[in-house]
């Protein structure tokens, strides 16, 4: 298993956001997580790369328990790519600077090696050479998100986490981003994707989990969960929407 989550719990003052989450992800698998806002999807992702410390429960990445006291947080985060809803590019750096900074400063790579790696990942997300010297404020939302994906990919992650990567984008720009994500999944990048995009789930994901009030209430193949949801919570999410899926 590339990722195993056991009994994960997290409480923020009086709200228990995660109430015992169990999750598994095989190497090369793409799993989509859906659920209403406030279900704990985002907190779950942030726990997985230790941006948020869970209160209890265990997380294993590639067999190694990262929630144990002696695990190196910084090493763990390097192995896990994180893509944010709001892109979160470094505004003072060019496209190239955004992608190389982790390589040179965190991985200690030489500038020339970092450039080579950056060019490779930028091409993979279809960010052309003419954009490499631009600053984030000079890019479209879809370009920003693809650069953010490149920034994560450059670190050679063994797992990618996407937190509603297209929620801040209009449908046209979402397509650009989703098609890049789909390609990465097809190439075997293990991915955990929080999204509301049903088409992406059906076309790119191997499995799907539905989250509700801090728990995973249903799991299965995306098509099965979307078209024949078994739980009332899942039915509430997909009711009526499955008609719009283009398959």
């Amino acid at each position: 298993m590339m990722l195993r989550v056991e009994g994960l719990r997290k409480r923020y003052s009086d709200i228990e956001v995660l109430r015992g989450v169990d999750l598994e992800l095989r190497e090369g698998e793409t799993k989509v997580i859906m659920g209403p806002s406030g279900a704990g999807k985002s907190t779950l992702l942030k726990c997985i790369n230790l941006l948020v410390r869970p209160d209890s429960g265990k997380i294993f990445i590639d067999g190694e328990e990262i929630t144990s006291k002696n695990s190196d947080v910084y090493k763990v985060r390097q192995k896990i790519g994180f893509v944010f809803q709001e892109f979160n590019l470094f505004n003072h750096l060019t496209v190239m600077g955004n992608v190389t900074i982790g390589l040179t400063k965190v991985k200690g790579m030489s500038k020339s090696d970092a450039l080579l790696k950056a060019k490779e990942v930028l091409r993979a997300v279809r960010i052309g050479e003419e954009l490499w010297d631009r600053y984030p404020a000079q890019l479209s939302g879809g370009q920003k998100q693809r650069v953010a994906i490149a920034r994560a990919l450059a670190m050679d992650p063994i797992l990618m986490l996407y937190d509603e990567p297209t929620s801040a984008l209009d449908p046209q720009l979402s397509m650009e981003v989703l098609s890049v994500m789909r390609e990465l999944s097809k190439k075997g990048m293990t991915s955990l994707v929080v999204t509301h995009e049903l088409n992406f789930a059906i076309e790119a994901a191997n499995s799907m989990a539905v989250m509700y009030e801090g728990r995973i209430v249903e799991e299965g193949s995306p098509e099965e969960v979307i078209k024949n949801p078994k739980t009332a919570e899942a039915r509430a999410i997909f009711n009526g929407r499955s008609n719009y899926v283009l398959v």
Binding site: L51, Y74, F90, N91, A137, A148
Partner: protein
């Protein structure tokens, strides 16, 4: 009675003292103010220090240090050194506020993104927070230069040979007040606008491309 003209070089020389006071005072203020801002940004409480420095008139601080604090600790510091310390300490309080609001205006998502690629907190500060916060703070910082330049004339109280002290000498020596003080005013005015103008040029050069007004 000597003519005023002969004193002009003497007065202009005073601007070197004024500029030294400001350069050293701003540097001290920066080297204390930036760490204070970072500590406050990460939750360390330093409000008492800032309240004291912001609430005390400079001339009181000067007197307190020169006649009170330093002598009672047996520290022998001249008027110039004392002035630099007083200007620097007070400026550190103001500069810390300037830098703190600049740090706060860097979108917190970028900090989380920096952590997500494995940066340590010191790297987040060095490579993400400071490069942006320092740029953002430049216009307010240039304001701090203008304020300190004019406040440095208060060091006249300790007899530091800056512009105002010299204008007063000239006034006594030539038995005229209008021209010496007018010239002093012109010097302060020119130094203020030369400095803020230069900082404005720097700001335009380092501003992040594509951001507001760019």
């Amino acid at each position: 009675m000597p003519s005023l003209l002969e004193y002009i070089p003497f007065l202009i020389e005073g601007s070197l003292w004024t500029l030294s006071l400001v350069a050293l005072g701003l540097s001290l203020g920066l080297s204390l103010g930036l760490p204070i801002a970072l500590m406050k940004f990460y939750g360390v409480k330093l409000d008492a220090y800032i309240w004291f420095m912001r609430g005390t008139p400079l001339v009181v601080l000067l007197s307190l240090l020169y006649w009170g604090v330093f002598p009672s600790f047996g520290v022998e510091l001249g008027p110039f050194e004392t002035s630099v310390i007083a200007l620097g300490l007070r400026s550190s309080a103001y500069q810390s506020q300037i830098f703190l609001s600049a740090l706060n205006s860097v979108d917190s998502g970028q900090i989380i993104a920096a952590r997500s690629i494995g940066m340590r907190e010191s790297q987040v500060v060095t490579y993400v927070l400071l490069p942006q916060a320092l740029r953002i703070s430049l216009p307010s910082w240039s304001n701090e230069y203008a304020i300190m330049l004019k406040d440095s004339s208060i060091c006249f109280a300790l007899g530091v040979m800056e512009i105002l002290t010299r204008a007063r000498y000239i006034s006594v020596a030539t038995d005229s007040a209008l021209l010496p003080y007018l010239l002093a005013g012109v010097l302060f005015f020119s130094l203020t606008h030369a400095g803020t103008g230069a900082l404005e040029i720097v700001y335009r050069r380092v501003k992040i491309k594509g951001t507001l007004g760019g």
